[in-house]
Subunit: 392 residues, 2 copies
C-alpha cells in the first residue's frame, strides 16, 4: 500500500432544507456572483428561481453563464472567464451536474491565473495559480465533481477531452439535496449510476499494489449501494432514500477518501474520453459499454486478473461464492452486463450510438498516456482498438 | 434520516515516510512551538528525538509540556496554556494518543479565548473563540481525536470528565505512521480497538432514526476491520497491514463522515466517563466491560431493539444468518464478550478493576444528560445503576 496525503476542505450541506445557508456562505467572499448552469432544466424544476431569489434577497448581483453543454467546451469556459474579468466577479455558483461544475471550476481557475484561455492549462503554457471561490448546487448524482479537485474540459477543434486538477478547484461548499434529482431522466439516472461505479472501479482492487483492505471493502460497499438503489430510483424517481444514497455514493466515489493509498488505474476513463470527444455521447453510457468488455479482455490477456474480477463479482454483485475463480470471473462479466444493459436499461453496444470503426485508431492514440494505459494490466493501442471492436 | 453539514479540514499525512513534511506545515504559523506529550514512551521509541531534530533544524524554538496523564486534567491544560501565553507560542505539536491530543486541543482553545481556566468552557462561563494551530503525531489507534473537533478533559476535584467541542479544535495536520504504534502494549492495543468500535457503536443503527443505509453499512465495514485486524496486531505487533488498518479505522470511526445524518446516542460513553473519572481506568477497557451488558439490558427492556442487535451481530461478528432475531441477539452478546474478553484479553468485570458499588449512585447521576441518557433506548439513573451492577 502507498503512503498518502488527504485533505478535502469542501463543506457539504446535505438534505432537504439546506439551501437557505447559501447566502451566509457566499457573502464571506463578496456580492457579485457568476451563476453557471446548463440547458435550463433547473428552470423547469423551479430551482433557478429559488437560487436567484436567495442571492438577490442577500443583496448579491448576479451575472449569468447559461447553456453549458454536456462535455463542456474550452470556448464556453473562456466565455465565462471573460464575464468574470469584465465584471469583477467575487465568486461562482454552479447549479447543475458534473459538466456545469467542471466548467465553473475551469472558469474560476482562468480568472485567477495568467491566461484568458483554459486550454493553456492543458498545454502547460500556464499554471493554475488560484481560483475564484466556487459554490455548487448539485442536480445529478454522477461525477462527484461537487467534492473533488478535478475538472474535465473538451476541445472540439481537436476532438480532445482532458482532465485538469488543482487544489484550488475544491468547491468551498456544495449543497446536496436529493430532491433536486427527482426529475433526472431514467437515462441520465442510469448513466450517472454507471459513472459512480466507474470512479470506484478506477481505484478498486484492479491493481498490483492494493491499498488498505478497509479502503477496498468500503469501495465495495459504495458500489453495492449503487447496485441496490439505482434500480429503485429508476422505478420510483422521487424515492428520497434511493436518491439520497445515490447522491452520497456519487460524492464518496470521487472525494479522495476512497483513493487514499490506492494506485489509480483509469483504464476505462482513458478509453471513454475519446469516445465522448468524438461522438459527444453521455460519459456514463460510454463507460457502461466499455467496462464489461474491458473485464472480459483483461481476463483473456492475463489470467492473474481472474481472481480479482471474481472478487469484484462476488462482493459487489453477489456472484455465487461456490463458483471457481474462473467461473466467477465469467459470471461477473455476465452480471455486470445484465445490470447495465437490462436493469439500468442502457443500450449495450457502441453501434447503438452510431459509432463505427472509422476513428478507432485515432481514438486509441488519444487514450494513451505515453505508449500505453497503465492499470490493472497495461493496455497498448492495439489492445484499446480490440476492446473498442468488442463493444461494437 | 437527518440533514447534515460536514466539513473536516484536517490534512492527513498517512504512512511510513511522511513526518518529513512536519516543518513545512508548521512554519506557515510561526517559529515557536509547544511540544505536548505524555509519560515518555515517545522517548523510548526514538520519536521524541526525531521530532525535536526536525523542528530545531527548521529553526523552531521548542517549549515543552511533558507528562500529560491518561484522562488529562484541567490543571494540566491550564499549565500548558500558561506556558503558551508567557512565551507567545505560535502553534502546538501533540505527540501521543487521545489524552495528549485532547489536552493540546484544550490548551489551544484557552490560549485564544478569554480565560486562563479550561473548566470555564465546561461551565459555560466563557466561549471557545479561537485556538492555536495544532499538529498531531499519533502514537496509538484509539480515540480518533487526530481528525475531529472534540476534547475530553477531567476535573479530579469533582470527579468529572467532560467533552468540549469546537470547530477551532480540528488539527491543521495529523501525521499517522502505523510504525509508531508497533510498541503499543497488547493491553493498550486491545483497549484502543474497543474504543474505535465504541465510537461507531455510538453512531450505529442503535437508534430509532437511522441514517442513510450506506453510512450504516460502512460503519459495519469499519467495525469488521477492527474485528479482523486487532487480533493480528496483538499477535504480531509490527504487522504493518494490521496496524495501518487499525489506525485508519480509528480515524474514520470519529471523523464525522460516519456520523453524517446520524442521530447520535452516546449511551456507552456517557456511562463510561464517570467510571474513568472515579477510577482512572483506561477508557476503552471500561467500554469493553459495559457494551455487552448494555446490549443485554436494552434487549431485556425493549424487545424492539432485538432485531437491531441481531443485525449488528450478523454483519459485524458473522453471527449465523439462520438464527432467529432473538437467538441472534443473544448470540451477539456472547460473541462480543468473547471478542473483548478472550480474543483481546481484557478482564471482563468491573470488580477486576477494583470497582464496587460504592459510587454507583453518584456515577449514574453524572452519566445523565438531564434526567436520562437518550439513545437506543432511554436510560434513567436506575437503568444505569442496573447496568453497572451487571458489570461487577
Amino acid at each position: 500500500m502507498n503512503d498518502f496525503v488527504l485533505q478535502v476542505p469542501t463543506k457539504i450541506y446535505f438534505g432537504k432544507d439546506q439551501l437557505k445557508h447559501l447566502p451566509e456562505e457566499v457573502l464571506q467572499y463578496g456580492k457579485k456572483a457568476l451563476l453557471v448552469y446548463g440547458g435550463g432544466s433547473i428552470k423547469k424544476i423551479g430551482l433557478y428561481d429559488k437560487v436567484v431569489k436567495l442571492l438577490e434577497d442577500a443583496g448579491i448581483t448576479i451575472y449569468e453563464l447559461a447553456g453549458v453543454e454536456p462535455n463542456p467546451r474550452h470556448t464556453t469556459v473562456n466565455k465565462g472567464a471573460a464575464i468574470c474579468k469584465e465584471n469583477n466577479i467575487d465568486f461562482i455558483v454552479a447549479v447543475g451536474g458534473g459538466s456545469v461544475i467542471d466548467c465553473a471550476k475551469a472558469i474560476a481557475g482562468v480568472v485567477k491565473s495568467d491566461t484568458d484561455d483554459v486550454w493553456d492549462f492543458v498545454e502547460k503554457k500556464c499554471d493554475i495559480t488560484g481560483a475564484l471561490p466556487l459554490f455548487v448546487i448539485l442536480t445529478i448524482s454522477a461525477t462527484g465533481s461537487e467534492m473533488d479537485k478535478w475538472s474535465v474540459i473538451s476541445n472540439e477543434d481537436i476532438n480532445a477531452k482532458r482532465g485538469l486538477g488543482s487544489e484550488f478547484f475544491f468547491p468551498k461548499a456544495s449543497f446536496l439535496n436529493p430532491e433536486f434529482t427527482y426529475s433526472v431522466s431514467p437515462y441520465q439516472t442510469a448513466a450517472g449510476s454507471v459513472d459512480i461505479m466507474a470512479h470506484i472501479i478506477d481505484n478498486y482492487y484492479f491493481t498490483k499494489n492494493p491499498a488498505m483492505e478497509m479502503i477496498h471493502n468500503i469501495q465495495e460497499e459504495v458500489m453495492r449501494t449503487v447496485v441496490k438503489y439505482a434500480p429503485i430510483a429508476l422505478k420510483e424517481p422521487d424515492n428520497y432514500e434511493a436518491r439520497a444514497n445515490l447522491m452520497w455514493a456519487s460524492t464518496w466515489a470521487l472525494n479522495d477518501y476512497l483513493k487514499a493509498g490506492v494506485s489509480m488505474h483509469t483504464s476505462n476513463h482513458s478509453m471513454e474520453h475519446p469516445l465522448s470527444a468524438y461522438y459527444d455521447m453521455t460519459h456514463g453510457h460510454g463507460l457502461a459499454i466499455l467496462i464489461p468488455r474491458w473485464l472480459e479482455y483483461v481476463m483473456q490477456k492475463d489470467p492473474e486478473t481472474i481472481p480479482i474480477v471474481a472478487r469484484f463479482g462476488r462482493n459487489v454483485f453477489n456472484v455465487d461464492q461456490n463458483l471457481s475463480d474462473e467461473e466467477a470471473g465469467k459470471k461477473t462479466v455476465e452480471v455486470v452486463s445484465d445490470f447495465y444493459f437490462n436493469t439500468l436499461g442502457l443500450p449495450g453496444k457502441l453501434s447503438d450510438l452510431g459509432v463505427d470503426e472509422t476513428h478507432f485508431k485515432e481514438m486509441a492514440k488519444k487514450a494513451m498516456k505515453g505508449d500505453s494505459i497503465q492499470g490493472f494490466i497495461e493496455l497498448d493501442e492495439e489492445d484499446v482498438i480490440n476492446i473498442y471492436k468488442m463493444c461494437l
